[in-house]
Symmetry: C2
Subunit: 348 residues, 2 copies
């Protein structure tokens, strides 16, 4: 299938589920008092977002149950034993954790904008943003206790989410540490990406299987699917920053180079002896000319660094897709396959 | 029994368990990588603390199981059905949550010191402190999945802890909101205290009963014991600030008045028409004279505000102790009774 057709199918699958996920977020993280806290808690959730992780969760459930996509009520979804559980609340708990990490990350990075609106600590204040994140954190665990799954499975899902949250913190700490370090190895960078970004994709795919009573082997394969496609997604982000025209990217192409942000590409280039810090001499993204980016990209291409990243993303994606062999052969599985492809073929 | 004898018994019960709790904290929140993150995560836990909440948890378990205090291995503790569970890991999870809330609260309040050492965001930095708190948050939930309890009980314990964390955030948000508001009613203040402080005492007492398989009625009574004695503890703090000599208090007596901190005493006094904001005219705790404090205290006494707080703390404590009737009559229950008394009779 062409990348365009894949993208259309994926965006359609996300679009179909997004409204249901948004309604569920509204029900499961309702307004409460104190008003300002709950407004801040819901602010980023209401600001939008693709809902890619909950879509992965819902598709995993649909493939495992071997039902036609969108044919079952996600709030009373068939487990493998034939009981009915709320698989939507599990999907929502993943999105709520994602939202909590974004709010706290934006404080740490002092980022002004998120999803096109002011970051929570800018719209409110830092204390409120810390508390809003902490509230979402608790909500996510509370929600995950409410699937109605067999209690042993429910407890295992909670344990997995908790371990995942610990790892996300470790990944963010490594990310901060790397900014201060003079040398970072590509493997260390990949470990950081896995912890900071990929484990939550892994958990998004694995948790529905856990609460539906799937075998450990299935759960583990789905977790690896998420880890691998999530890592590929992040590596592809680094490639896109250099290869996609600015107007399509929504920001200056090559901005990672100006900001001296280490990526798998810059780390590979360093290993090839390229003086990455002086690849472009602009101090701000505004100063950066297209010619300067072209010259830098040419040098990185010469060193094989962009291909190195691209091939790594492709290999991870192929591996991720092969993990899906544990699932029944059905439309939902095909869509999970498409999502893995989409994560590295999307244009921006 | 005299207050002194009660205090001795309570401090002895805490002292006996503290080393075991500290060892368990070290085992259950071990060093890991990234090193700086885990050092920050463990920093406040290692800085000390009375371990009052885990002591309450362990005593609740001992009373419920009707065993002699300190006679059983907390890591293989008898449930009501005769199984063996790790009740220590539940106690540790409560202390870990307490530690997380202190780290984040200190960022929000920009407090420099905690337990006699620099606050985590001062010793490290704000980003590391946010992450250290977030890591402890995840650890607490992870630990609570590991009691080995019947899974339904384990899941219920997680649900209770998650709800408690949500409430702690609500309480902290109210505390911040009240500093900005011109009028706060005593009932609103009490609700804030209950959310910010008392619910974690309640959960410290209730969770062991949940994982040991106690009836809902017992769990609920123990929760109320914690709520009421925890609220009394906080109210007593407000009384002590005005009534205990500075050298015994470890800070300037009357400092709440200088800082214009609303307490149940100031809120009652306002309702009696006292101009609380002008009770003392010192701008800093250093400027405050003993005579000025004496005059302010005399006025508050005159209005009945200090007695109002004291009587409220006493009534809450009596109610808390009566909740313990659901427990077998044994030494551990007596100690829980003593702890409730100690929380409002302690000198500082």
């Amino acid at each position: 299938m062409t990348p365009d057709a894949t993208e259309r199918r994926v965006l359609e699958a996300i679009r179909e589920r997004r409204e249901l996920v948004n309604d569920a977020l509204d029900e499961d993280v309702p307004m409460a008092e104190p008003e300002r806290l709950y407004e801040a808690t819901r602010y980023l959730l209401k600001a939008g977002g693709k809902r890619l992780r909950p879509t992965v969760s819902l598709l995993t459930a649909e493939s495992l149950a071997d039902v036609e996509p969108m044919s079952e009520d996600y709030r009373a979804f068939p487990t493998l034993a034939g009981d009915a559980i709320d698989v939507m609340v599990a999907a929502v708990s993943i999105e709520v954790i994602q939202s909590f990490t974004l709010i706290h990350d934006d404080i740490m990075d002092d980022d002004d904008l998120r999803r096109g609106v002011p970051a929570v600590h800018k719209e409110y204040d830092t204390s409120t943003a810390i508390l809003a994140g902490d509230t979402l954190y608790a909500k996510a665990f509370e929600l995950l206790t409410k699937t109605g799954a067999d209690p042993a499975d429910g407890l295992e899902a909670v344990r997995r989410l908790a371990t995942t949250c610990t790892q996300i913190c470790e990944g963010q700490a490594l990310d901060i540490e790397f900014e201060r370090r003079t040398e970072v190895l590509p493997d260390e960078y990949l470990q950081m990406v896995e912890l900071k970004t990929a484990v939550l994709y892994g958990t998004a795919a694995a948790v529905p299987a856990v609460v539906m009573g799937a075998d450990d082997e299935v759960v583990e394969a789905l977790y690896q699917y998420g880890i691998e496609s999530g890592s590929a997604f992040q590596i592809q982000d680094d490639v896109l920053d250099l290869t996609v025209p600015s107007d399509q990217l929504g920001k200056q192409r090559g901005s990672d180079l100006v900001e001296n942000k280490e990526t798998i590409i810059s780390l590979h280039a360093r290993q090839q002896g390229i003086d990455v810090d002086d690849l472009v001499d602009a101090e701000t993204a505004e100063e950066l000319t297209e010619d300067a980016v072209e010259a830098a990209v040419a040098e990185l291409n010469e060193a094989g660094s962009i291909d190195y990243a691209r091939e790594m993303a492709e290999a991870l994606t192929e591996q991720a897709k092969s993990r899906l062999d544990v699932l029944p052969d059905n439309e939902a599985r095909d869509l999970l396959c498409d999502i893995a492809d989409y994560l590295i073929t999307r244009g921006y």
